[in-house]
Subunit: 328 residues, 2 copies
């Protein structure tokens, strides 16, 4: 295949590694054999949770915040389901920026608590993430400050893309990478690098059936919006795909699949039992996809990006307790 | 203070980094602010669980196995409470060595399962870890193969010491490092480097009250053995310290403290609640020490090495359920 012609730039992505705090880079990448008997394939984990914000999002916010600080800006605002807000809070605090995060009042409480703990201003809206996006845009206009739009802003995609560099530079080969699909920053970022540097590997995006907007859009080749989402995977629960992000995703994704909630829970369970990892639902989407299509992946080497671990433990326990324990 | 005169050699430790599989090196080191309000100090985590054997032990077994393979040896044996056996199983398998692990039949089942899954031969003895050590020595004599003795064999100490290099080379400064103390490989390894390269930082060893042999020996300056151990921290439950290891520990440790079982469980709870980490009891010893002596650490920057996550989940749940939930 030809090089993908996305908005992303591989040289800029390489340069981003020099800007991002090293605490977020060169994250663990290791084969987890204990998962393999149940899944029927070779599984490598790329772990994005062992850092100060427990998700990959700071790779992008480090780029945004360093640019704003270099320009002498003083404030920044974003809408967030929780992880972007924490990451921007962390990156902004270190550079003297006033950070405002707009979130749904239904967002995961642990995420909101951690945003506050980082000293960011938190504004809650009485609606879902799409309403938070609208409100954040209004705050930016009113205050004349930078709005960080996840997946639209190239820094969020190119920051996430540094994960892709670490994959292709560390693993001699792999057959597929499974990527949680929400707004698209992670998928277009990692996908751009994989298709540029390891084009033989499949780029497979995974979304919950209860939040299928971007996946449906990818299959139809045009933006499809949906009604309210219904999934525990709060980190990927968007309803309104961004057209230019879909254009990029069409360039780099080989497939986009939808998985059931029960598979997400089983995936979380397996990551706990066999890998000792507590993860948020979005981070189990890859395992869910393996569970739902064993034949497709049989005998292949698959990388799954464990993208976050910000979870309410009470909810986590209730999900796992409600599901049958998965034993091989 | 003067450079420590231990059996360990800093140049050899630096060279070890070239031999150890990179999947075990450059592990996450990050500040965990969510832990800090309850502990009253700055806490950085050095995370040794995100690798194929879920503990730091492979840093040492990589050295052993590579040396044996270079010499054309075909087999190796060790006694293990579980983590060394997994690590030697992993390192030996990759180099075509037949690995035998001798363990107590009371060892953590999850650890024994993972040793078997790696293809190692597992021999169980009807007694504790000290009996397993005796039996492993007998196997080595009978079969004429290399016995790997944890903490006695310099490779196990110098492998662990590479953690120390990563600490002193990554953190601009820290006030103390808290190290789980069992046989002493981790403590003498990390301690040697910290005292050589960052002598202003305190090296504090932590052991359970129910397995105090090495700590008592350190305080008395001579080997003290004890009766049966009584702790959930299976990874550090030795009764018979090795004299030359104690000699090294006397050179590099600033203190050795004992903690209660309840503090270990609270530490595990806090690492789950605030850091999203499932850890084995030995890995929570550092947090336990902080909990038991808040005044000592108030306002200081402390590093705790989270050294393993191989835990039976049923036991883990029962420990955490039995303890009062720790909330600030």
């Amino acid at each position: 295949m030809t090089r993908p012609s996305t908005r992303l730039d591989t040289a800029r992505i390489r340069a981003a590694r020099e800007v991002i705090d090293p605490v977020f880079l060169d994250t663990p990448l290791y084969r987890c054999e204990a998962l393999e008997p149940d899944l029927g394939c070779t599984v490598s984990i790329k772990l994005e949770t062992a850092n100060p914000v427990r998700s990959f999002k700071a790779r992008g916010t480090e780029l945004v915040a360093s640019q704003l600080a270099a320009r002498g800006e003083r404030a920044v605002v974003c809408a967030s389901a929780g992880n972007l807000g924490q990451a921007l809070g962390w990156s902004g605090r270190g550079r003297g920026l006033d950070v405002t995060v707009v979130a749904s009042r239904f967002a995961t409480a642990a995420k909101l608590d951690r945003i506050r703990a980082l000293g960011a201003g938190l504004e809650l809206v009485d609606g879902d993430h799409e309403l938070a996006r609208e409100r954040a845009a209004a705050v930016a206009r009113l205050d004349g400050i930078r709005l960080v739009e996840d997946s639209l802003d190239i820094e969020t995609c190119e920051g996430a893309a540094t994960i892709g560099l670490e994959l292709v530079e560390t693993l001699p080969s792999f057959d597929a990478v499974l990527i949680a699909l929400g707004g698209g920053a992670l998928a277009t970022g990692v996908g751009h690098i994989v298709k540029s540097c390891a084009p033989g590997a499949e780029v497979i995006c995974v979304q919950p059936q209860g939040a299928p907007a971007m996946t449906r859009s990818w299959h139809l080749g045009r933006v499809v919006t949906t009604g309210p989402t219904d999934t525990i995977a709060d980190g990927v629960a968007g309803r309104r795909p961004i057209p230019v992000v879909l254009d990029d995703l069409l360039q780099v994704a080989d497939d986009a699949v939808l998985v059931e909630e029960a598979s997400i829970v089983t995936g979380m369970h397996m990551l706990l039992e066999h890998a000792g990892l507590v993860v948020e639902p979005s981070a189990a989407l890859g395992i869910a996809a393996l569970l739902e299509d064993r034949d497709r992946f049989a005998g292949r080497h698959v990388v799954t990006i464990v993208c976050g671990s910000n979870v309410d433990l009470d909810a986590y326990r209730s999900w796992l307790d409600a599901a049958p324990v998965h034993r091989s």
